[in-house]
Every structure is written in structure tokens, then in C-alpha cells.
Symmetry: C2
Subunit: 255 residues, 2 copies
Amino acid sequence: MMKNLKITISYNGATYCGFQIQPDSITTPTIQGVCTEALTKLFKHEATVIGCGRTDAGVHAREYVFNTRTSLSIPNNGLVKALNGLLPHDIAVHTCETVDNDFHARYSAKSKEYAYLIHNGKTRNVFIQDLAYFYPRKLDFEKMRQAAELFMGEHDFSAYCKAESLEIVKAKEHGAVRQIYDFTVKYANEDCVELLVKGNGFLHNMVRILCGTLINVSEGKISLDDIRKTLSGGERKMAGVTLPACGLYLNKVVY
Amino acid sequence: MMKNLKITISYNGATYCGFQIQPDSITTPTIQGVCTEALTKLFKHEATVIGCGRTDAGVHAREYVFNTRTSLSIPNNGLVKALNGLLPHDIAVHTCETVDNDFHARYSAKSKEYAYLIHNGKTRNVFIQDLAYFYPRKLDFEKMRQAAELFMGEHDFSAYCKAESLEIVKAKEHGAVRQIYDFTVKYANEDCVELLVKGNGFLHNMVRILCGTLINVSEGKISLDDIRKTLSGGERKMAGVTLPACGLYLNKVVY
């Protein structure tokens, strides 16, 4: 009997070439590659890891979900322990539950939440160098919140997609239309600002461009009117910068 | 005119072989080596970095102090910026001030404060893997605090020194006698416990063994009476384990 398992992990993406397996898994380690290898060892049969989505090189995850099927008879909490023993220290397994056979980590996802962490201190913090984007200048929270509000709701986010990926996106069912449920700007602690964005789906680099646009709005380089213009299918160059991968976290996936 | 500069830095020691320069600086990068190289480049003359003390491989520092002399005429805040531009991202310069010529980072220090960070969560936290010691079992704060209190005051800490270093320590003026001013156990956040210890000086590995002893007391492996016996020059094997370097931080130096 094959069981379908829903597994939640967190990972520090600093040294990985993203989630998805690449053709050369030795020179380009990936989260999917490392997890597949560990599960194959544990299951004693070929494992397939179905992720909830891709994350780029250097991007982190607090609660990433994947599903995998096995014929191995092992209690779910035993699997968590065994898998943590097999995985490197920058990937941690938190939960494992048996789910319906038709559960699919990507297709069954209803919404996702991302966080973007900005270290807004005066000098760089050596303890979060790969974990936050260092931005030492003053941020205008009021302006950033006004911009964030404009993004909420359903829009054509063509201007907020990596230019090279837009053609593929547009060919698909929903094109570049996505819905943002919530977009908040808050202090995570004394000198770290966290941008939290929830939506039904995100285009390639979308969160990093949305957050970069908020920074550019704070700097006065982009106006709220500029944003309004981009939200009906504007071009990539009208939106803000793509912030570095190190500040981005897949926070959670809702099913 | 040579100026004597007091410079405060922080560093993430994860990839360094400790503070002190080693004979082979290419295969064994050290904080002192990297800072000396950057200052020599900036000063355009050979720089000498006098540290406030050694830290072992993998140990971190939040406010490490060193002094160095230069004939270069550069404003102190300009030096901070220039040096941050030359140093790698896991070393950050915070302040630079001109001090009396007889200021010596090590000899002028009156006391030091170390922090030991324990990640006391259920599963490992991939974002602090090199920054805290992962200890998933329950900690008995009450017992740990009672033990910490016993260490306060002046004692012969021979039992709390790396065995291989004890002979050198004993040959020096104060031998293994040190004074602990304060030793507290508190939550740094939801699932991280911070042990803070202040004293007039520390023997090799002393903080890591003191903290390891607190853990062993929490586990019931060492009693308060056992500690009392060790504090009049007991042997190393009577004290607790040496906790890993990754949890240790030189917090600050008082002059």
C-alpha cells in the first residue's frame, strides 16, 4: 500500500541553488535533490519529492511543504526523526502526516505567504548576513504602507515578473493575473523590518520586485501613481528593483 | 605622529580558526589575520592588531575590541567606512576612537562579558545552526541558577580550564584564580536561552565548561555539592562538558 505523505520542512537556502533539482546535482546542490536522496535512502525505493513551488537560489523557507509516496511502514514521527538524521543541518523536518492520495503540494495549495526581511540598522549585522537584506538608510513606513495597499486585490502583475519568464507565464491559464490578500510592513525586531505578503500565487521574482518597489517608493524614486499605472499590465522597467534573494522567506502554504 | 586607535568590531566566527593569527594564514583564516591585512592596505604601512583576547575557532563576538597604531591621517568615521569596505561580510567595524598611547586592548581591560546561546527548541532551527548550541531537552532553570550562583565570586577555576592549557595558566601570576561578577540564565527569545557571565578574566574554554556544567546540573549528572568541591582547585574531569564553540559570544569588554 502506497501512503501519500505531507512533509513540512524549513531550510536555510544560502548555499543551495534553489529548490528544484538541476541537471547537475553535484555542482548545483538543491533542496529537492538533497531531500530526494535522503528519502530514497530511508524508503529503500526511489522517492519523488513534489514541492509546493520553486524557490530561487539563496531563498529560505520557514514552512515549505512537499508530498511524497512510500510503501515503507514507518510511524510518521519516526520518519521525522530518521529524516532529520539524514539531512544536512540547513534543512530541518518539522512534521509528517498521511494525507489523501489526491493531495498535491503544488496543485492543492490555496494560498502562500512570503516574508521579506530587511536589516535596517546602521552597520551590517554579521549574524544575519545571508538572512536579511542590509539597507542602512531611513525607511518611510507611511509611504511603503500606502504602496503595499495599492498592490492588494486582483491585478495583472506583468510588470512584477522577471522579464525572461513573462512569456511562459502569459501562455498559461491565468496569465499574469494574481490576487494579493494582504501586504503588511512591520518591525520584526529592533532593527529588522519584515514585509509580509499573502496571495493566491506569485510570478517569478514577484515578491522581490514588489518589496523592491516599496523601497523605491520610500526613496521617492517611484510614486503611488507610477504603481497604479503598472498594475494594468505595465512593463517590468516601470516597477522597482529586484531585491536580493537572501531576504526572502517562503513563510507558509495554506491548503 | 602615530595615533593609537581603539576599534570595536563584531564577527561571525563560523568560518574562522579563531581570533589569533596562525602560522599558515591561507589555510587557516583568522580574524586577526584578516583585520591586519585590511588595515595594512588602508594605512599603507604594516599594521599590528592588538586584540583584547583570544577566541577559539567558531566563537563569535558582538563587541570585540582591538587597538592599532597608524601615521595615516584619516577621520575616525572615515576609517570605519573604509575598513568595512575592505573586510569580508562576516566582520563588521562599529566604532573607532583615538585613545591614549598607553591604551592596550588586553592589558587595559577591566572585565569581560560572554554570552552562551542555547537553542532550546524541539527541532533544529536552520537559521541559527552556527549561532547557537541546539539542546532540545527540557532545562531546569532553577537548578541552573543555583549552580550559576555558586560560581560567583573569586575561586580557583582549575577544574574549568582546558586540561592541556592548565600548566601554562598555573605558571602565571594569578594562576587559575578568577573572579566572576555575574552569571545569569535568561530567555533571549521564545526558544533561545542565554547564559551571561561577567568576570575579570577567563581561562581557556572556561565559559564553555561553566555553561556545560550548568547543563549537566540541569540533567542531574552534577550536584551543587560536586561544584563546591571543584571550586577549590578540583580536576577538569570533575566539572561538566565543554559546550560547542558555535554558541559562544564575546559580548563586551569593559575598560
